[in-house]
C-alpha cells in the first residue's frame, strides 16, 4: 500500500497527525538525505571557486576551500596586473552594441511580418524559418573571409554585426508571435487618429510588448559574455580581447599559475549576471514560455 511520497504523507497527515509510522520516518530521512547530498553537489563548485578566489597563493595545488588567511589580493591584482579591465570594458561594449542592434533589427522585422500583408510575406516567413535551422556559427571560414574583405577583422563592430545578424531568424519568429497577440483594433484606432505606421509601432506596439523586448534585449546582452567561438575567430589582438577569451586562456594555458586570479575574475563576471537574471526572472520566464513549444 505504499505510494509516492506525495500522497502517502498527505494521507498520513490527515489520518494521524501525531503519530508517524516508522516507515514514514525512514522515508523522510531518506528524502532529506537525498536533498542534502544533492545540495552539496550543487553548491560545492560554487563555494569552491569563491573560497579559491580568497586564497593567498596562486596555484591550484595549494588552495583550500576555506582559506586560512583570506585575502582580496587577487581582486586587486586583476585590475593592476592583468588586462581584466580592458576585457571587461570590451565585453560590456560588445554586449551593449549587440543588445541595441539586435533589438532594433528584430523588432522591426517582427512588426512588419506581424502587421502588414504584402506580396512575398509567406515566402519570407518560410525562408526565415529555414534559415534558423542552420547554426550560423558553423560558417566560421566564411565569416572570417567576409570580415577580412570588409576590413572588419579584429574589430568589435564586425563581431557585433554577425551576432546581430545570426539572431534575426529565430527571434523574429519569437517576437512576431508576441506581437500577433496584441489586438489589431488598437493599431486601427491609432491609425484613425492619424498616426503613421511608425508612431503606431513606437507608441502602441512597443509599450505593450515590453516583456518580450526585455527578454530579447537581455539575451542579446548576455550572449557575448559567454560566447567564445566567434570571438576567438574575429578578435586577434590583446586590446580587443573579451572576458570569455581572457578567462578561457587563464585556465587552458599550459601553466595553471593564474588559477586564483581566474577564480576572482570568474566571480566578478558571474555575480552581476546572476543578479541580472534574478531581477529579470519574470521576463525570462515569460520569454521562455512564449517561445516554448506547445505539445
Amino acid at each position: 500500500m505504499m505510494s509516492t511520497p506525495t500522497s502517502t504523507s498527505q494521507l498520513k497527515l490527515v489520518k494521524n497527525k501525531k503519530k508517524l509510522t516508522v516507515k514514514d520516518i525512514i522515508l523522510r530521512i531518506l528524502v532529506y538525505a537525498f536533498l542534502i547530498t544533492n545540495t552539496v553537489f550543487i553548491l560545492f563548485p560554487v563555494l569552491w571557486i569563491i573560497g579559491s578566489s580568497l586564497n593567498p597563493g596562486d596555484s591550484l595545488y595549494s588552495s583550500t576551500m576555506i582559506p586560512k588567511n583570506p585575502t582580496f589580493i587577487h581582486y586587486k591584482e586583476l585590475f593592476t596586473k592583468t588586462d581584466y579591465p580592458i576585457w571587461y570594458k570590451n565585453t560590456l561594449k560588445i554586449a551593449f552594441m549587440n543588445m541595441i542592434l539586435s533589438t532594433i533589427l528584430t523588432t522591426f522585422n517582427a512588426y512588419v511580418f506581424s502587421r502588414f500583408r504584402f506580396k512575398g510575406r509567406k515566402a519570407g516567413l518560410v525562408t526565415i524559418l529555414v534559415l534558423q535551422v542552420f547554426p550560423s556559427f558553423l560558417t566560421l571560414t566564411a565569416i572570417y573571409t567576409l570580415l577580412m574583405q570588409l576590413n572588419l577583422l579584429n574589430t568589435h563592430i564586425g563581431l557585433v554585426l554577425f551576432y546581430a545578424g545570426a539572431q534575426i531568424p529565430g527571434n523574429t519568429w519569437l517576437i512576431k508571435g508576441y506581437f500577433d497577440q496584441i489586438p489589431k483594433s488598437l493599431d486601427e484606432a491609432a491609425r484613425v487618429d492619424g498616426a503613421t505606421n511608425f508612431t503606431t509601432f513606437t507608441k502602441i506596439i512597443m509599450p505593450l510588448a515590453v516583456p518580450i523586448i526585455v527578454f530579447l534585449a537581455l539575451t542579446s546582452f548576455i550572449g557575448p559574455w559567454m560566447d567564445f567561438i566567434l570571438q576567438s575567430v574575429v578578435l586577434r589582438t590583446a586590446d580587443k580581447k573579451t572576458l570569455a577569451m581572457g578567462l578561457m586562456e587563464m585556465v587552458t594555458g599550459q601553466t595553471n599559475t593564474k588559477f586564483t586570479l581566474f577564480a576572482a575574475g570568474a566571480i566578478l563576471v558571474a555575480v552581476p549576471i546572476t543578479i541580472l537574471y534574478a531581477f529579470l526572472q519574470k521576463y525570462i520566464v515569460e520569454g521562455l514560455s512564449s517561445g516554448a513549444v506547445k505539445s
Binding site: I42, L43, F198, M226, A270
Partner: protein, 421 residues
C-alpha cells in the same frame, strides 16, 4: 495622363525616366542612380566576380618584373562572385519594379513625403533586417557549401600563395573512402550521437527526480530547495564549465578527496572513457535545473484523480511513477527533449571548455576522444586549415539537424498560429 504613358517604354532603357516624366522625381532619380551606379561600378565588379567564381583565378603567385607580387586570390574571388550574384539579383528586382511602376498611372492626389514614406513603410522598415540576413547568414552558408567542393586547405592549397580549385565531389569521396578520414568521421559521429542522447536523458531524469522530491508534500521549505537547485542555471555557463575543468583536473580538489579516501588519483579528463563519463556528469549539473524548473509546472498539471484511482487499485509508488508520472511528463516535454537533443548534438562549449576534445586519439585525424562533430570542425578550421573537409562535415551536420529543428519548430505556438502550410 494617356500622353505620359507613351514614355513608359523609355524605362526599359533608362530606369526612372518614366517616373520623372510623371513628376515622381525622388523615385525617378533613385532609379536612375541605381542604373548609373550599376553601369559605372557594378558591371566591371560583377564581370570580374562571375569570372572569379567560375575559374577561382588563374594567375599563380609570382613576382613580376618590378618585383611586385602578382596573384589571384581564389577565396576572395569566390566571395566576390557570390556577392555579385546577390547584387545582380537585387538589381534585377529593382529593374522589374521600375518597369512595372512606369506603366502604372500617376497618383491623382498630391501626396506629401510623410504619406509616401508611410505607404512604403514595411519595405523601409524591413530593409536593414533583410540585408543583414542576406549577407550575414545566407551568403556565409552558400560560401561554406561551395568550399566543400574545392580543395581549399593547408598546406598546399592556401591563397594567396596557391590557387584553389574546384574538385567536384572528391572531398565527399575521400571522407567516406579514405580510412583515416572515414575512421574519424564514424568514430566522432557515434560519440556525438551517444553524447547527445546521454546528455539529454540524464539531465531530464535528474531534473524529474528533483522536481518530484522537492514537490512531494513531506518536504518543508520547498522554496529554499527549489532556489538551491536552480543555482547552476543562473551561473553563466562558460564560467561553470571552466570551474569544472579545474575541479576535475589532475591536481584538482576532487582528486585530492579521492586520494584522501586512500584511493589512486583518477584521470577524470585524461582517460578516454572516464573523460566521457565526466562530461555527462558535468552536463547533468548544468542541465538538470532547467528540466526541474520545467517539470514543476508540468507535475502540478497531472490530474490528481489518476493517482487516486490507482491508489484504489493498490498500485505501488514505483508503478505509479512508471505508468502515470513518467508517461505524462514525457508526453508534454517531448518536443523540448528533441530540441535539447539538437542542442547537445552541437554543444561545442562544454567540450571545448572542459576537455578541448582531448585526450588525443592517434587513430583520428585532427580529433580527440571527446570531440563532437562541431568541435572537430572548429579544430579543422582554426588549427589545421582543412577548410574543405570542415565544410563537408558542416553540410552533414546541417542535413542531420535540419529535420529535427524543423520538426520541433512546426509544433511551436507561433508557427501553428501562422498557418503557413
Amino acid at each position: 495622363m494617356e500622353d505620359k504613358k507613351k514614355f513608359a517604354w523609355l524605362s526599359y532603357i533608362i530606369m526612372g525616366s518614366a517616373q520623372i516624366m510623371k513628376g515622381e522625381y525622388i523615385k525617378g532619380i533613385f532609379l536612375l542612380l541605381v542604373e548609373i551606379l550599376t553601369i559605372v561600378f557594378g558591371i566591371p565588379y560583377f564581370a570580374h566576380g562571375l569570372w572569379g567564381i567560375w575559374t577561382l583565378g588563374v594567375t599563380k603567385y609570382h613576382f613580376n618584373e618590378q618585383g611586385i607580387a602578382v596573384y589571384d586570390h581564389s577565396i576572395f574571388l569566390m566571395l566576390q562572385g557570390l556577392t555579385s550574384i546577390f547584387l545582380i539579383l537585387i538589381i534585377i528586382g529593382i529593374y522589374i519594379y521600375n518597369v512595372k511602376d512606369a506603366y502604372r498611372p500617376k497618383q491623382a492626389k498630391k501626396t506629401t513625403l510623410r504619406d509616401k514614406i508611410d505607404r512604403n513603410f514595411h519595405w523601409i522598415f524591413m530593409t536593414p533586417g533583410i540585408l543583414a540576413m542576406l549577407f550575414l547568414i545566407v551568403l556565409p552558408i552558400i560560401f561554406t557549401v561551395l568550399v566543400a567542393f574545392t580543395d581549399y586547405s593547408g598546406p598546399y592549397h592556401l591563397p594567396p600563395r596557391n590557387l584553389v580549385r574546384w574538385v567536384g565531389l572528391q572531398n565527399f569521396k575521400e571522407i567516406f573512402g579514405l580510412k583515416i578520414w572515414n575512421q574519424t568521421l564514424s568514430g566522432v559521429f557515434v560519440w556525438t550521437v551517444t553524447w547527445a542522447i546521454l546528455a539529454t536523458i540524464t539531465s531530464f531524469f535528474v531534473g524529474l527526480m528533483w522536481a518530484l522530491i522537492v514537490n512531494s508534500s513531506g518536504v518543508k521549505i520547498k522554496k529554499l530547495w527549489r532556489t538551491i537547485f536552480i543555482i547552476p542555471y543562473a551561473v553563466p555557463g562558460l564560467i561553470s564549465l571552466l570551474i569544472m575543468r579545474l575541479l576535475f583536473s589532475g591536481p584538482g580538489p576532487i582528486n585530492d578527496f579521492v586520494e584522501h579516501l586512500g584511493l589512486q588519483r583518477i584521470g577524470w579528463l585524461t582517460d578516454p572513457h572516464m573523460a566521457k563519463v565526466t562530461l555527462v556528469l558535468i552536463n547533468m549539473w548544468l542541465g538538470a535545473p532547467y528540466f526541474m524548473a520545467l517539470m514543476t509546472s508540468i507535475l502540478t498539471n497531472i490530474p490528481k484523480d489518476l493517482y487516486e484511482s490507482s491508489d484504489i487499485d493498490g498500485a505501488t509508488a514505483f508503478q505509479k511513477l512508471r505508468h502515470i508520472t513518467v508517461p505524462m511528463v514525457l508526453l508534454s516535454t517531448m518536443p523540448l527533449l528533441i530540441s535539447s537533443f539538437a542542442y547537445n548534438f552541437n554543444n561545442f562549449m562544454i567540450i571545448y571548455a572542459v576537455t578541448s576534445g582531448g585526450p588525443v586519439n592517434p587513430n583520428y585525424r585532427y580529433a580527440g576522444h571527446t570531440d563532437l562533430l562541431i568541435s572537430w570542425i572548429y579544430k579543422m578550421t582554426l588549427n589545421q586549415q582543412q577548410y574543405h573537409m570542415a565544410s563537408v562535415v558542416t553540410i552533414m551536420i546541417f542535413l542531420m539537424i535540419a529535420p529535427i529543428v524543423a520538426y520541433t519548430f512546426t509544433r511551436s505556438k507561433s508557427f501553428r498560429e501562422e498557418d503557413l502550410i
